[in-house]
Symmetry: C2
Subunit: 442 residues, 2 copies
């Protein structure tokens, strides 16, 4: 195998290098975040055109593991891993949906929505978790005494950890604050046999416990600080370009909370650019819920200042994060990509999701944030009508029934549900029904 | 275009033939069900190997509409339709998941689960609805005065009708019994802008109204009686074989209520066999909920007798059907495929789903019925350990949160939840957590 990758410190001055099978989450020298680096010179031995052909040959085939959208790009993700240790549920390959009617409504003619929530556990987190759990399999195979994969999470991360560990037969443990999560948030990890610990503390308290636990190498930490997940999520941008016959969009809009995903998407575009698959970079938009928008505040200062905030309640629970762990990774990426940060209120994100739904989508609240950001940028002509825009839909709307029913029953706080659609009660009688339909459909 | 297809009566003696753009649901001569027939001689001008190559060349590409799992087989589905009228959300291409751990647990070593619920609206119904709504677009384009697509449905059908119509900009109308459906069953059609009529009658009353309505050609009927949907669903079997490098499995197990899907799957295999893509047929298993098992009762008589039953309550609401509309289509198919019918109680279907979930799946209750049927047939050695088995998972488990939470909180009626997994409450303290994990994970 001529390709290789390793952990290194995000500080370019720091010389630390570690194998991806090391159980390590921050730099042992300076405690900074880690990133995965690749031997780019080795990757350059294959031309951009040759990479494109290789990726196309594998795309969505049944050849294990290369039919997976992540592992079809294995050389760019984790080249050294043994195929036998890969734990995959055929990630990626989700539809790049051309939102023709929605685009017409908002004056963005060339609009595409990447349906990442159409996935094994219903969110883009599968893309990263297949890499992390496969790495754990590799570590175990090489003799590491790992007893469980652990995380503190109330949502998509715990679902993905539990499902991938269950597929592999590795124990998983999910920590969450007692009384602050609903049974429906718990149901995926419970069903996938995770040990689910409800702690008498808040979410920050859970994070503290999980960090302490991870000092014991038998408990492998799956939270966002772990850079392996970013390597899988990076394939979103490669797949977007591949699905559009290797053309780069003008804009990519990403719901942004912990900032790992926008980092990953930026890294994917950088790598394609450096290796000659694309000639230009898109502009990136980080879309934040107004209730939890520390990056937006920083953007307003030209990224000169940055400080965590207290996150308020939002329907977009997956990005309700006041102190994003990947901020130091994401800010340089946004600067390089001439990035924009936009925010959306509860009313804006809910209306945007409802409008998109009326054209055939079923947008989760985080996707609502991204769509609302798009509408505001189009309204202000930051995004022009003819530019090609890709919005990343991060989770399946089916995960958020309360958001949907709340909107259409007009019970969401801070939201005036202009598009609320309610059942119409009628007698069980042909004539009454025919009249109602004729009135509705003309 | 050398290929053609048309409606004909399922009675082989009846000479009725009609264009697929005719607004007709039963045979005008004898009132029997209709089916779609194809010019098989024309299709035979291309060899089996050439069809396989064509389908492989198109599979999951971005070339509209052929990247869709349904429209990649357009010549076998609806050859005459104009591509411009096709309403697609990139159906099909769902993972054929190798259930290694679950298979080991139940003694079926070569077990695969077709994840059809990983789809735009979360169920296999998308496969048929893309054909039906595209046909409506074609009819409108040819001048038909269709004002709305209508259906009576409490679940997946209404979701698919509403989403595809919203994508196309065609009004849709969903009829359902007042007070008998939950808001969460309504949320997809409401979000997708369907006129949702809650009638003061039961489900049969809704069906009567919708049938009366469909006598007016302005209201196009999308219920299962419409044979266009079967043409799309037929591609499930082609895709299963294609995903396994054109090998035919020994068994295909299908959750069965209205019997349209098992009919479609049988027709797909028949067509592949007749056109030389496969040399053998699999055996089919129709898996019914014991609460609604008229086909199982008929099977016990060697299909000599058949009569509708009163459907009792079941978690598997999508197959809670006592009088399946496609029984006359399905029984001959089952006879030809040396078919088996099996049933599963509430306890059996729930345990099977929970066991599968503990190995990384997230099975809907209908899939639970199919998995329970598999376990019973393996136990009785009807299915041998080395045979290749494909189970059709028809819907996304995320659509059934009450089934999942009910199981793990041990509140499902008639179910002893042996695998219930509950959150463990602990103080927010490192030592308590470390002890709990060590105890759990060894």
């Amino acid at each position: 195998m001529p390709y290789s990758s390793w952990f290194q410190c995000i500080d370019p001055e720091c010389p630390e290098r570690m194998a991806l099978t090391e159980i390590v989450y921050t730099c042992p020298s300076c405690d900074d975040l880690l990133m995965v680096a690749h031997d780019v010179d080795a990757l350059k031995n294959r031309s951009g055109a040759a990479w494109m052909r290789l990726f196309d040959d594998r795309y969505m085939t049944t050849q294990f593991p290369y039919g997976s959208g992540v592992w079809g790009k294995k050389e760019w993700v984790y080249p050294q891993i043994d195929d036998a240790n890969i734990v995959s549920t055929y990630e990626g390959g989700s539809n790049l949906f051309q939102a023709i009617r929605f685009g017409e409504m908002i004056g963005v003619e060339d609009l595409w929505i990447k349906q990442s929530g159409n996935s094994h556990t219903g969110s883009f987190k599968d893309l990263g978790m297949t890499v992390l759990v496969s790495a754990v399999q590799q570590m175990i195979h090489e003799g590491a005494d790992i007893r469980a994969v652990i995380c503190a999470s109330t949502g998509d991360t715990s679902a993905a950890v539990a499902a991938y560990c269950a597929t592999a037969g590795i124990p998983s443990v999910v920590l969450l604050p007692k009384d602050k999560v609903t049974t429906s948030q718990l149901v995926q990890p419970l069903a996938n046999n995770a040990l689910t610990l409800a702690l008498d503390t808040d979410f920050d308290g859970c994070m503290e416990v999980v960090k302490l636990l991870s000092e014991d190498k038998r408990f492998y930490l799956a939270n966002s600080i772990n850079p392996l997940r970013i390597e899988g999520q990076k394939t979103i941008s490669i797949e977007i370009v591949q699905q559009d016959d290797w053309q780069t969009p003008d804009w990519v809009i990403v719901p942004s909370g912990n900032l790992g995903n926008i980092t990953a998407i930026g890294l994917g575009f950088q790598m394609m650019h450096e290796l000659g698959l694309i000639n230009k970079l898109p502009r990136l938009v980080a879309a934040q819920a107004a209730a939890a928008a520390p990056l937006y505040d920083s953007y307003k200062t030209g990224f000169k200042e940055y400080s965590p905030v207290h996150a308020h309640g939002t329907q977009a629970t997956a990005i309700q994060i006041g102190n994003p762990v990947s901020a130091p990774r994401a800010i340089p990426i946004l600067q390089e990509f001439d990035g924009v940060v936009e925010q959306a209120t509860e009313d804006e994100l809910s209306q945007a999701a409802a409008l998109a739904d009326s054209t055939g989508l079923f947008a989760c609240p985080q996707t609502g944030v991204a769509l609302a950001a798009l509408m505001k940028l189009a309204e202000r002509s930051v995004i022009s009508p003819e530019e090609r825009v890709v919005v990343i839909s991060t989770a399946n709307g089916l995960k958020f029934p309360d958001f949907k029913t709340g909107y259409h029953s007009e019970t969401l706080p801070e939201v005036t549900a202009k598009l609320a659609n309610k059942p119409v009660e009628l007698p069980g009688d042909y004539h009454a029904v025919a009249e109602a339909i004729t009135k509705h459909a003309g």
